[in-house]
Each structure stands twice: as structure tokens, then as C-alpha cells.
């Protein structure tokens, strides 16, 4: 579903992402972790077509994000860390705009919009202008919009920012259900507990390189230290003065 094929992205002399090769199959929830400046945002931007790789290719459902961006976008839903809405549109009007943008048939769009409004509990404010929404309301609306067209791949950048505990639960349940149905989720987060709870696999990026790829159990085995805490493992791995994990190429 998602393929990063030897992807490198440079910003002038600085390499933000270096030779990233990664394949995420259908129905997997993948969490990308890493400290600030590790290259997570650059990776996400390349995955949603905002940024072109300097070298290599990014593909979604077989479509290249540079050569065939529109077809690739048809398969992607994206929830950015800073949700953008049209302030002078109501939530319902925004959902219709997105549904129309994806060319959804009228009857299907009507059904899906009603379902997402109910799912994300938007009913109380769906007909108010977005300018009156709180951050949490905005985030829920953007989630609803990103799922309207039932994408093959959902890309989430710090998805839980601004959400209250109830909304977080809704999102978690939804992600679990959708991945079971075959949707691939690519999530960038700093919340280790959520990654541990939800992700099938995780990647840890440090200074543009994927330092670890696998499950939490595999990470424990690889790090060979006596701790069960993901936080401790993560800190060890991302510590610039720490030793390399066993098995990592020099």
C-alpha cells in the first residue's frame, strides 16, 4: 500500500531523510516515532505529496506521488497536525466540499456524511460556521473529512492533539476497526503509549535515518537491555551518546 523506495530528501546541505526504504502492507497501522528534527514531518509531507523526494520514489497503492499525484491522492486521507478549514463554511458544507472533490456519488456522499457526523459526534455544531469551532472540534471534523472517501491509506500527523479523552477513544476504536477492514494507517506521533497500544509495527527515526523498524518486542530483543518500558527503549535508541543497537549496520 505504501512504499518508500530509497527516498532521500535534502534541504540545501542538510539531509532530512536519508535513503529511506520502507513498505507498509494493507491493513497495517504503522507508527513513526523520533525526536524533534528526526525527519518525521518530511517523511509525512512526501507521503501526502507536499514535498518531492530529492532521490527515490514514494508510492501509494502503486501510484507515484510525483508522477501521478492526483491518482495517488485519491487513495489517501490526511489529517495534518494543524487542521485547515474554511472559516466561512459550516462543518457540513466542508464535508460536502471534500466529498465532491473526491467525485463521490450523491447518494453515497449523503450516507457517508451522515455516518461520519454521527461517528465523530459532530451533530451539535455541524451547521455552525467553522470560525466558531474549538481545536478539538476542528480536529474531529478533519478526521471525518479524511475518512469520507474510504481511503486505502490514512496518514495522521500527531492526530490526538486537541482531542478530549472521549474523542481519543473514538479515534482509537475507529482506527482499529478500519485497519481490520484493510485500511493502512501511517501515523507520526510523540505519544509512545499510543504507539505501543495501537501500532502493528513502528519505525524510529533519528537524524533522517530509520534506526529501528519492527514491533515493540523486536525492539526489546534488539536493544538487549533489561526494561519493559517503551519509553526507556526509545530514549536509549535516540540518545546521541548511546551505543548502536545490535544488528544495526555501522
Amino acid at each position: 500500500m505504501i512504499e518508500f523506495d530509497h527516498v532521500t530528501r535534502t534541504y540545501g546541505p542538510k539531509t532530512a531523510v536519508s535513503d529511506l526504504t520502507l513498505a507498509i502492507p494493507r491493513g497495517e497501522l504503522f507508527a513513526l516515532l523520533g525526536p524533534n528534527g528526526a525527519g518525521k514531518t518530511t517523511t509525512i509531507k512526501m507521503l501526502v505529496g507536499l514535498l518531492r523526494p530529492s532521490r527515490g520514489a514514494v508510492r501509494v497503492s502503486g501510484f507515484d506521488l510525483v508522477k501521478d499525484a492526483r491518482s495517488a491522492h485519491l487513495h489517501v486521507g490526511y489529517v495534518p497536525d494543524e487542521p485547515m478549514l474554511y472559516e466561512k463554511l459550516t462543518g457540513r458544507e466542508f464535508l460536502w466540499f471534500i466529498a465532491d472533490m473526491f467525485g463521490m456519488p450523491r447518494h453515497l456522499a449523503t450516507k457517508r456524511i451522515a455516518a461520519e457526523i454521527e461517528h465523530f459526534e459532530l451533530g451539535d455544531f455541524a451547521d455552525d460556521l467553522a470560525e466558531s469551532y474549538s481545536l478539538g472540534m476542528r480536529q474531529r471534523l478533519v478526521f471525518a473529512a479524511s475518512l469520507l472517501h474510504d481511503p486505502d491509506v490514512l496518514v495522521l500527523d500527531e492526530p490526538m492533539v486537541g482531542l478530549d479523552p472521549r474523542s481519543v477513544r473514538i479515534v482509537k476504536d475507529l482506527l482499529a476497526a478500519r485497519t481490520r477492514e484493510g485500511m493502512t494507517v501511517f501515523m507520526s506521533t510523540h505519544t509512545l503509549a499510543m504507539a505501543e497500544e495501537m501500532a502493528d509495527r513502528m519505525g524510529i527515526m533519528v537524524r533522517g535515518q530509520l534506526r529501528f523498524l519492527g514491533t515493540v518486542e523486536e525492539l526489546r530483543e534488539q536493544m538487549a537491555i533489561e526494561t519493559t518500558s517503551l519509553e526507556q527503549l526509545y530514549l536509549e535508541l535516540t540518545n546521541p551518546r548511546a551505543a548502536r543497537p545490535s544488528g544495526e549496520p555501522p
Binding site: 507536499l50 491522492h73 485519491l74 487513495h75 463554511l89 477492514e181
Partner: protein
């Protein structure tokens, strides 16, 4: 699934498809209509006063311009017919250059820096459709000034020339088709520059701007400084306009527009001649439309190839890190005075730094005051006589005040609202809230004082005014700086908009509009109060004490006592305009709950 196929497979296949370009265009048109209707409805329901004020002031502005142009065209009609052509060519060609730059800059911000563009780039929409959507916005913002300024001029021209109805019917198509050409050229340059010259972008833009400014200065200087004839005479106009003949190039769209309009306005001696003139006008319109459409095709083609590439280049740019040591001026300001006043001075220095580092603020300041300085510097070449010189001196004072009022409204009025968003920082500091308001006032007052007084002095010296007039103008200028700062800071603190982060939006709200209107009235009041006795004083000296009947109040107003009384009234007005809004603002700000 075949990656070559244009339609999706999997779960997405059942729910969506790629839109045709017509469908995309219709969708964006509907979006624009929805947003426009919603904005209008919000304004009608919550900002009726502001809307009425905007409509009223625009109508007044339009009407005044129309009256002015009717007078001007009636006068020019007596001159050689080619003068009108030169006037139109000079006006439209300079407008063309301005439109190239303004649309380019607006499109840059809309296409590459707006959150909306970031959203649209992640949706399955064509790049050329996004370009068209943002281009419509840019062209509207870039050209509404032309419509407001150009329409009274062109309507007045048609009325004075007793043009047929077809001229008035063709006005809008002519204006719209003309505006599209420079705007599209600006857009093409913008997209090409971002995509293929990312490193050169800033330097290229700066070089272009500097060249254009230099060219403008040179043109203004050569056109005005070396004219030998008496100012405002027919010969003076002819000499001046002959220097602007450079704008009459047949390959320029401005020439097509002015020629088309002149032909459309022409009344033939017989029906055949009138039809021929109309045919000429329509062929010029067709030329504009055809070129506009061709350029739109080029821009669309370029957008499809360069927009996403440019966007990626821009997102990938890392802002250069610069060490910013504390400047000697900031250091001096921070350490000058008592320890008790230090927090106030620190706040002023903070605002000064923000001003210096915000190019949009100081560049507008430099451009507007620079242009005024250029005009004042050339004032001597107009050879005004004494009666005119005094009046022009006061008009120049009013212009300086009006320019300052636009700055205080645009940049000073939103300062308190913007502090509201950072209130957690200031609120935790050992500061009294009053000090925040006072610091804004001091920043605005002291910041405006030097350039404004300097400009007024330049104007007076160039006009050759006597020392007494210079002193009066300088006192008025200080009063204007003080009052305008008081109005902007006081009303800004009284009516803050703590939710808005854009200073442009804050200043265009009700509070900002009110601040601008009050400021304008204050300027008129100050200038009229000072100007009237000065002129009566000059008249008394020119025509002797018998100019007015003994005991007449006009005679008293024109005496030294009258002059002193008017100055006292000006100073009182200044104190009222400064302290009434400030006291209201301070009270409101003390009780503010962010």
C-alpha cells in the same frame, strides 16, 4: 490494481473518481459562492455599521473623484486631443507595472504560503485548477483599487466627451480584459521564479523592485524637474506630457486600452464615422481579450508543470539562521532613564525590534514616506505663488497626517489585540497593565514624530514658507502624531480582538474602521483650525488692516491673537484626541480577561 489506470481500485474504487476539469472548476465556483454568501451574511448581521461606513465612504470617494475628473477633463478638453491619450497611456502603463508586481506578490502568498493551498495540494485536484482559484483571489485584491480609481475617471471622460452609450457599456469589459494581462504576467513570473530560481527569488525580486523604483524616480525627476513653463499652464501640461510619451508604445496593452477607450468615446460627425470608431474600439477590446486568454493558457500550462515543483522547493527551504546581537540603539534606549521606567522602555524596544524585523511594516513605511518625500522635494519646481504656497503647505501637512493615520490604524491599532494572544507572557511579568498601553503609545508617537516632522519641514522649506508658518506646521504635526497615536492605541485597547492573529484582519474590523474614521476627522479638524486663521492673517498682511471690517470676527481671527487662539485650540484638540481614547482604553484594558 494497475498503477497506469486513472481510476482507483480497492475500497476507494467504489466511492470516488477523478473529476474532469469542468467539474473541478464548478466545484471551486460553488465554494467561492458559499464563502462569499456566508461572509456577506455575517457582515449584514453583525457588522452593519462597518458595512454602511465602507459603502458610504467609498461612494463619497467615488463621487469626489468623479467631480475632480469632470473638472480635469473639461480643462484638458480645451488642449490638444493627444494630451488625453498621453494621460491615459501614462496612467494605464504605470498601473500595468503595479498590477504585475501586486498580483505576483499576492499569488505568491496565496499559492505557496496559505493553509488553503496546503489543504488543496493533498486533494486529487489539478494544479491548474488550484492556480485558477487562487488567481481569481489575487486579481480581485490587486485590481479593486483600479476599479475604484479608474471607473470615476473613465465615466467622467465619457460624460465630458458626450460619448455614446456603447462607451459606457464597453467600460467594464475593457477594464477586466486589461487587468487580466499584467496580472497573468505577474503570475507567470511568480510561478517560474519559485520553481526554477528558488535561491535567486529574493535577490531577483529585490533587484526588480529596486530597478522599478529607480526608474520611477528617474521618470518623475526628468518629467517634473526640467519643465520650464509656468506651472498649471497649458504649455506646462504639454511639456510634462511630452516627457511621458515613452508610455505610448503600440505593443503595450495599456496603449490598446487607451486607444480602444478613446475610440469608443468618440462621437462621429455622421453615423458611418461613429460605427467605424466603435468597430476600432471593439477590435482593440478583442486584442486585449485574445492576449489575456493566450496568457491564461500559458499560465495554466505552467501551473500544471511548475506549481507542485515550486511548492516542494519552497517547503524544502530552511530559513537562514542569523545571529542578532543587541543593537547600540536598543541598548541605549534600554539603559536611558530611571530604573522605574525600565519595563516601559523594554516594551518599546521589543516593539521596535518586531517592527524592524517585519519587512511588510517598514517597507510600506519607507515606500509611502519616501514617495511623499520625493513629491515634497519636487514642490519647488511647481513655482507656486505665496497664496498657493501656504495652502499647499497645509494640504501637505494633511497628507502627512493621513498617511500616518493609515499606519497607526494598520499597525498600531492591532498591537494590543496581538499582545492579548501573548498575554500569558506579559501577564506573568511584574508589569502594570497600564505600562503595556503606554509603551504602545510612546512607540507610535516617538516613531512617527521624526519622519512626519522631517517631511513637513522639507515641504515648507521647498515651498519657501516663512519661519512663522513652519513653526505653526510643526506644532500641528506634533499634535497630529500625538493624537493619532492616542486614537489608535486607545481604541485598540478599548476594542481588542483577541481571537484574531492577522493584524490586517484586526485593523479591517469595526474598531480599525472606527479608528481610521475618527483619525480622518481629527486631521481635518486640526488642519482647518490652524489653516483658516493663517490665511486670514496672510490676507490681512497682503491687503492691509482694512481687508475686513473693524470689529469683524474675521479681522480678529486674522490677527496675531487669532492665530495664537487657533494654535491653543489645536493643542487642546490634540490633548483631547490623545487622552480621551487613552483613558477609555486604559480602563478597558485593566478589566480585560484574555
Amino acid at each position: 490494481m494497475s498503477p497506469m489506470s486513472d481510476q482507483p481500485t480497492g475500497s476507494t474504487a467504489q466511492s470516488c473518481r477523478l473529476l474532469s476539469i469542468d467539474e473541478e472548476s464548478r466545484l471551486f465556483l460553488r465554494l467561492r459562492a458559499q464563502v462569499a454568501w456566508s461572509s456577506l451574511w455575517s457582515m449584514l448581521s453583525s457588522a452593519r455599521l462597518r458595512l454602511s461606513l465602507v459603502i458610504l465612504l467609498s461612494a463619497m470617494f467615488w463621487g469626489s473623484l468623479y467631480g475632480l475628473f469632470v473638472e480635469a477633463f473639461t480643462f484638458l478638453d480645451s488642449l490638444h486631443a493627444e494630451v488625453i491619450s498621453l494621460l491615459f497611456n501614462a496612467f494605464f502603463s504605470s498601473l500595468m507595472v503595479m498590477l504585475v508586481f501586486s498580483t505576483g506578490i499576492l499569488l505568491y502568498s496565496g499559492l505557496y504560503c496559505s493553509p488553503e493551498a496546503r489543504l488543496l495540494m493533498t486533494l486529487p485536484v489539478r494544479e491548474e485548477t488550484i492556480f485558477a482559484h487562487k488567481f481569481q483571489e489575487a486579481i480581485w485584491f490587486a485590481s479593486w483599487g483600479f476599479i475604484l480609481l479608474g471607473s470615476p475617471m473613465l465615466v467622467a471622460y465619457g460624460v465630458v466627451r458626450h460619448s455614446p452609450w456603447t462607451y459606457f457599456a464597453l467600460l467594464l469589459p475593457f477594464m477586466v480584459s486589461f487587468v487580466v494581462i499584467p496580472s497573468t504576467i505577474g503570475s507567470i513570473c511568480c510561478m517560474a521564479m519559485v520553481a526554477w530560481m528558488p535561491r535567486l527569488r529574493v535577490h531577483a525580486l529585490t533587484a526588480c523592485l529596486v530597478t522599478m523604483c529607480g526608474l520611477g524616480l528617474w521618470l518623475a525627476w526628468t518629467s517634473l524637474s526640467s519643465v520650464k513653463a509656468d506651472s498649471m499652464s497649458a504649455a506646462w501640461f504639454e511639456q510634462t506630457f511630452s516627457r511621458l510619451a515613452i508610455t505610448e508604445q503600440k505593443l503595450l496593452p495599456s496603449w490598446w486600452l487607451s486607444s480602444g477607450l478613446i475610440e469608443a468615446a468618440r462621437v462621429g460627425k455622421n453615423p458611418g464615422e461613429s460605427w467605424a470608431a466603435l468597430g476600432e474600439a471593439v477590435s482593440f477590446l478583442a486584442l486585449l481579450v485574445a492576449n489575456g486568454m493566450l496568457l491564461q493558457l500559458v499560465a495554466g500550462w505552467l501551473a500544471a508543470r511548475a506549481y507542485r515543483l515550486g511548492y516542494s522547493e519552497l517547503v524544502g527551504e530552511v530559513p537562514a539562521r542569523r545571529q542578532r546581537p543587541i543593537g547600540w540603539f536598543d541598548q541605549m534606549l534600554m539603559n536611558a532613564g530611571s530604573a522605574a521606567g525600565r519595563p516601559l522602555r523594554l516594551l518599546v524596544v521589543k516593539d521596535l525590534r518586531l517592527f524592524r524585523r517585519d519587512i511588510s511594516q517598514w517597507s510600506q513605511f519607507v515606500i509611502f514616506f519616501g514617495l511623499l518625500g520625493l513629491y515634497f522635494f519636487n514642490a519647488r519646481s511647481f513655482n507656486y505663488n505665496n497664496a498657493y504656497a501656504s495652502m499647499i503647505g497645509f494640504l501637505n501637512l494633511a497628507v502627512v497626517g493621513l498617511i500616518l493615520s493609515t499606519f497607526t490604524t494598520r499597525f498600531v491599532f492591532p498591537m494590543i489585540s496581538l499582545e492579548g494572544r501573548r498575554f500569558w507572557i506579559l501577564g506573568l511579568l511584574p508589569l502594570h497593565r497600564d505600562q503595556i498601553v503606554w509603551s504602545k503609545f510612546l512607540f507610535s508617537f516617538l516613531g512617527g514624530l521624526l519622519p512626519c516632522c522631517g517631511l513637513v519641514l522639507l515641504s515648507d522649506v521647498m515651498l519657501g514658507l516663512p519661519r512663522r508658518a513652519i513653526v505653526i506646521h510643526e506644532i500641528c504635526c506634533v499634535v497630529l502624531c500625538m493624537g493619532l497615536s492616542g486614537i489608535a492605541v486607545g481604541l485598540g485597547a478599548k476594542m481588542p480582538d483577541l481571537r484574531e492573529s492577522s493584524p490586517a484582519k484586526i485593523s479591517s474590523g469595526f474598531g480599525g474602521t472606527l479608528s481610521l474614521v475618527v483619525s480622518s476627522f481629527f486631521i481635518i479638524l486640526v488642519v482647518v483650525t490652524a489653516a483658516l486663521p493663517t490665511h486670514l492673517f496672510l490676507a490681512t498682511h497682503a491687503f492691509g488692516a482694512d481687508a475686513f471690517a473693524r470689529g469683524d470676527w474675521l479681522a480678529w481671527a486674522g490677527s496675531t491673537q487669532g492665530l495664537l487662539a487657533s494654535l491653543s485650540a489645536v493643542v487642546t484638540l490634540g490633548f483631547l484626541a490623545t487622552f480621551v481614547p487613552l483613558v477609555l482604553g486604559l480602563r478597558a484594558f485593566r478589566q480585560l480577561e484574555p
